[in-house]
Amino acid sequence: MKRLGLSGLFFVWLYGVPFLLLVGLIRRTSTPYAPTREAAEAFGATTDTLLIVGLLLNALPLIGLHFAGLAGDEGWQRHFRWAIGGMVLLYLLVVLVSRMATGLLIGHTPADDEPAPAVTQCIPRSGGRGCPGG
């Protein structure tokens, strides 16, 4: 049971974190078709969630090392010690990518195709231009 938990933690980190970060980065660098402003914001929000969850889960080796220490499992302790190196490497890679990005890596909203609202009414304003016919 203990071994199963530790190996689950390890493999979720090993494959799950790169998966989430890769999906998030592909979405972040893409130009999605967004007919409305809301659609673009929802797309951006999902991308942010993926990236944030990936970055949080990347800290799993610290938790794994703690539990492996409690369980006294020397083999998994060694695995998680290596994994902390991988964790640092992955964080550095994300920092590198975010330095290359134009704009924010997290919190970016893609452009949308919503047309600018057309002006249909003329409201007279003091000091402004006069309305046609009035």
């Binding site: 998030g24 893409s30 695995h79």
Partner: protein
């Protein structure tokens, strides 16, 4: 049972390397499929209006499958070299996947 010997580690390293290919392939497929594209209006050309599932099957048949087989053949050779000096199967598998992709990218870039 040769579980912790070189032979056992070789099998597990290959499994770890295959896991990387599956993970990266799945991430690219999911990432690209989750990006909405404008609705296409002209469907007269061949393969111009495929559903995501159809295009995934087509790409796997024409491109993904052969590339994966090639990568696994190179990985089998690289892993055989790396599994002896490295004590951990996860490390050996991950490194051999990285080395394989680097070799294949270099060969591809050199040819074209």
């Amino acid at each position: 049972m040769d579980h912790n010997g070189v032979r056992g580690r070789y099998g597990r390293s290959m499994a770890v390397a295959s896991g990387w290919y599956v993970t990266v392939g799945a991430a690219v497929a999911v990432g690209l499929a989750s990006v909405p594209s404008p609705p296409s209006t002209d469907c007269s050309a061949w393969f111009s209006c495929l559903s995501p599932g159809e295009s995934l099957v087509l790409i796997m048949l024409v491109w993904g499958g052969p590339v994966l087989v090639g990568l696994l053949v190179v990985t089998a050779l690289v892993t055989a070299l790396l599994v002896r000096p490295l004590p951990s199967a996860v490390l050996a598998g991950t490194l051999s996947a990285l080395v394989t992709v680097t070799i294949c990218a270099a060969v591809y870039a050199g040819r074209s």
